[in-house]
Symmetry: C2
Subunit: 297 residues, 2 copies
């Protein structure tokens, strides 16, 4: 089968064998924001024309391609949600040439105070990770990123999740606030990162801790080259404390970022394992594809 992880900035396509192994992969900077005039079919054909000629099965896509700005909007599946429910809610795209393509819907939930939350793309990774690790019961999964997701899984069902704007807050503070002005480039400083994670457990709140990053640099308690990692640790620490929970957590993400989160979880007394997000995506696309085929037959 062919699976496509199609996000805001990147398109990643995979040829996947029947056990969820990758036969071939391609990526292009053709995220949905780079596609003009709704030319999604044309864009995809330009990247994987040769695969399409060889592969008769429907293409399965996930990510922002199913948003209002994508090829076709795939309405969110409400939590609690299982993988087979997602597989039965695939939305077909209009494609010519007798080809068929489907988009995997995202998930929606409300937090305990009734505020809505959404994900698109991480749900495929999450079901893929659960399938790959054969873990369905009582798992906590974290998807770090621009908008980090913390997911609670009970018996293979996504009970709910919460999103944290951690990655984006880090980027805007580094690039546009007074904190960035004292930062200097340097190699990763894990000691500073750990101090940031520890700082997050202090009283005073995030808005106060942020200002402390500046004063600590001004008072020579933190080196300019260490400030970015101190800030990173502080923000990730606040996210982990706010997400709460106890016990082991599975971090699914790009390797460097996932390892950074796993380190922070361990500092907070949690067991943490890492699974590469590409592996999780491919396993998840295969699983959803197979469940959809089974339901259709």
């Amino acid at each position: 089968m062919i699976g496509v992880d199609w996000g805001t900035t990147q398109l990643r396509a995979y040829r996947i064998d029947s056990s969820g192994g990758v036969l071939a992969s391609r990526s292009a900077p053709k995220g949905i924001m780079a596609v003009e005039g709704g030319a999604f079919a044309h864009t995809l054909e330009a990247v994987i024309a040769d695969w399409l000629d060889q592969e008769p099965a429907p293409i399965l896509m996930s990510g922002m391609i199913g948003s209002r700005q994508g090829w076709v909007e795939a309405p969110y599946v409400p939590c609690p949600a299982r993988a087979d429910q997602v597989a039965q809610a695939l939305v077909e795209v209009a494609w010519g040439n007798g080809r068929r393509g489907f988009i995997c819907p995202g998930l929606a939930c409300r937090d305990r105070d009734g505020v809505p939350d959404v994900m698109r793309g991480e749900e495929v990774q999450m079901f893929g990770a659960l399938d790959a690790l054969a873990e369905a019961a009582g798992s906590a999964i974290c998807h770090p990123g621009t908008h980090s997701k913390h997911v609670t899984v009970e018996d293979g069902t996504v009970a709910g999740f919460r999103t944290y704007m951690t990655g984006e807050v880090f980027a805007v503070l580094r690039d546009h606030s007074i904190l960035g002005r004292t930062m200097a480039a340097g190699p990763a400083d894990w000691q500073a990162f750990d101090r940031g994670v520890e700082r997050a457990s202090n009283s005073g709140g995030l808005l106060h801790h942020l200002f402390g990053a500046r004063t600590r640099v001004l008072m020579d308690e933190i080196a300019p080259a260490a400030e970015a990692d101190y800030l990173s640790g502080m923000l990730i620490g606040h996210e982990i404390h706010a997400a709460g929970g106890s016990g082991a957590v599975l971090v699914v993400g790009a390797q460097a970022l996932a390892e950074r989160y796993a380190r922070a979880f361990r500092l907070c007394g949690r067991e943490a394992r890492v699974l590469d997000d590409e592996t999780a995506t491919v396993k998840g696309l295969r699983l959803i594809h197979d469940l959809a085929q089974k339901a259709a037959s």
Copy 2:
């Protein structure tokens, strides 16, 4: 006397009578970042040459003019600190023509976890506010702004304070994050502001609440023209909860922002009064000036 509130972007000068009333005032966009080559004396003379000809008393300055980037660095006075201790720590600037000028030092403290904190300029406003309102015992004072300060005063002594990066975080999120992209201009929406303040008392933490501002707009629960006020209320609410305390609070700041904070404090069950920051600055400069004269005589 002549008092000067000299910040990063603005210079504000006052002629002040013996009871702390304003005889005349002038302002110019000549903050310390706009002064080239250390020409502070020249810059000030250009704004108030006629006053200087008439007024023999020393000039008292406060704010970032006393920072490392200012005219001369006035080392921080450590907390706990009283007004007379600040008055005895004035630093004289090198000025020609037989004129004399002094800079008021800022205050420094450490929070309960040992992280340093600093202020420059707000200390003059705070002592001025206490003097103007004849309140020296058990007061909580809030100076809202780019970097908000919450100050604890005991018997006329500044016991300590904490800074929150609230105003700057609001600005960078509005101008540079995904939250700003869905915002539309509109008149102040106090209902949305109040919902933001209330949201801050929910569980989940600031980083999660921020993402909820986006989803609530996408789900039509908050209008694009109301999103900025919702975000503002949320950040100010988080600041107030983190600052803690109970009982009445005095908000010293520019009127619109101070009234916004007072509204949030009241929503959080606190009594709140507002004092205009210009009044507080002038009263404070007069007080410090008089205390310095008294100590010198």
